[in-house]
Symmetry: C2
Subunit: 232 residues, 2 copies
């Protein structure tokens, strides 16, 4: 039972329910899920909102707020049953779990990502890589076969792929992204430092290393040498 639907006494599409969940809540729920998985592996049976909160540097209220969105109800005083809460979060992420992704652009960064996901540490599988360089096509890199980008549409159709990690160079990213969308891709994790201009029904998450590094540099700098008085 989802509190949002409950209080509004409504039947909604999943899409509508998802739209009511704050984006940042989704991000935190993914982290909570990871933590709960670890607790299960460690044999921990119960946990509390303030446990989770401490782990991620947020408030306990925030955690409870977030958990309201997935529908599992803990018990007063004894907190959350780790296994049940985990299962309920999985249910919330039902469209995510077990799904595969592909990588496009097998440069240095692409290869590092293939390696990162090949270790079996993550539950996400990168099932294919695509590039337009004939030298890479046909090779198996970190356990992942590399195909020509022209084969993408077939592969996406056949394997019901929704999500792509895009590691193409900046100059090619937009064109490739258009091709991805034509192939039926619905979500892109964009590692290239350009904004992709695409139709609104595709979800794009920009993962801009340089921008984020500069952001850290800015705030790191503001921790030092920013004490002088100014009247800008």
């Amino acid at each position: 039972m989802c509190y949002i639907c409950f209080v509004n006494k409504i039947t909604k599409t999943k899409r509508e329910v998802v739209a009511l969940v704050p984006k940042k809540t989704v991000a935190r729920l993914i982290l909570y899920k990871r933590f709960l998985k670890q607790l299960i592996d460690d044999g921990v049976k119960n946990t509390y909102s303030h446990d989770i909160a401490t782990k991620f540097g947020v408030t306990a209220t925030q955690v409870r707020r977030d958990l309201m969105c997935v529908g599992y109800h803990g018990a007063s005083r004894s907190g959350y049953d780790v296994k049940k809460l985990y299962d309920e979060i999985l249910r919330f992420f039902i469209n995510t779990e077990g799904k595969d992704v592909v990588l496009v652009g097998v440069g240095n960064l692409g290869r590092a990502l293939l390696s990162y996901f090949s270790g079996g540490k993550s539950h996400i599988r990168v099932v294919a890589a695509f590039d337009n360089d004939e030298h890479k096509v046909g090779r198996v890199i970190c356990g992942c076969r590399c195909y020509h980008i022209n084969e993408l549409k077939d592969f996406v159709d056949k394997n019901k792929i929704h999500t792509v990690m895009l590691c193409a160079p900046a100059t090619a990213a937009q064109d490739i992204a258009v091709q991805l969308i034509k192939s039926g891709v619905k979500g892109i994790l964009n590692f290239s430092p350009v904004r992709l201009n695409l139709s609104a029904d595709v979800y794009i998450e920009d993962f801009d290393i340089t921008m984020n590094l500069e952001k850290v540099m800015f705030f790191a700098g503001s921790n030092t040498g920013f004490e002088e008085k100014i009247n800008v």
Copy 2:
């Protein structure tokens, strides 16, 4: 002249001014800066808030609000002088520009990042890498020399490094982060999938690949097959 100080008729420390600028504005300003640099290279003299807005998928008002924080004033009707605006944004990021960073953890991801920054495409220089693996110490990887992590403190002191890209494995990340802080580091771009528990005066940006990929998978999934009615 910064409008925040102006309207409040106050003299503040730079730190206080920075605190008044929304974090998201800082992120966008970095993107605007990049765009303006490109405009300069392309020989474009003037630009407008809606140009920048279209480029990044935000509203023109948002852009103007963001630019208020850096203090440069455009001209009604003729927009912004690209060069002057760029310079003013640089001035805002004065503590960031020209500063160097180091990388800690020379695994696959670390190497890919060294390669990424070695091409000279970015204006940020990664001037050293650190690892505790004796096999890596002393080697030069993508033009970047690798030192033992014990040499970090000296290097940071000598070269006035504030910012680190941390690519250590999850199990080691927290311990290494503590060591970084002891060495005087003020900002960490954290690629490892664990939250670092550190004192509040250090800026940490989590760059969690798996989490972000899952987020994309979730929203990509919500674009398909989420039309069924539910009453959760």
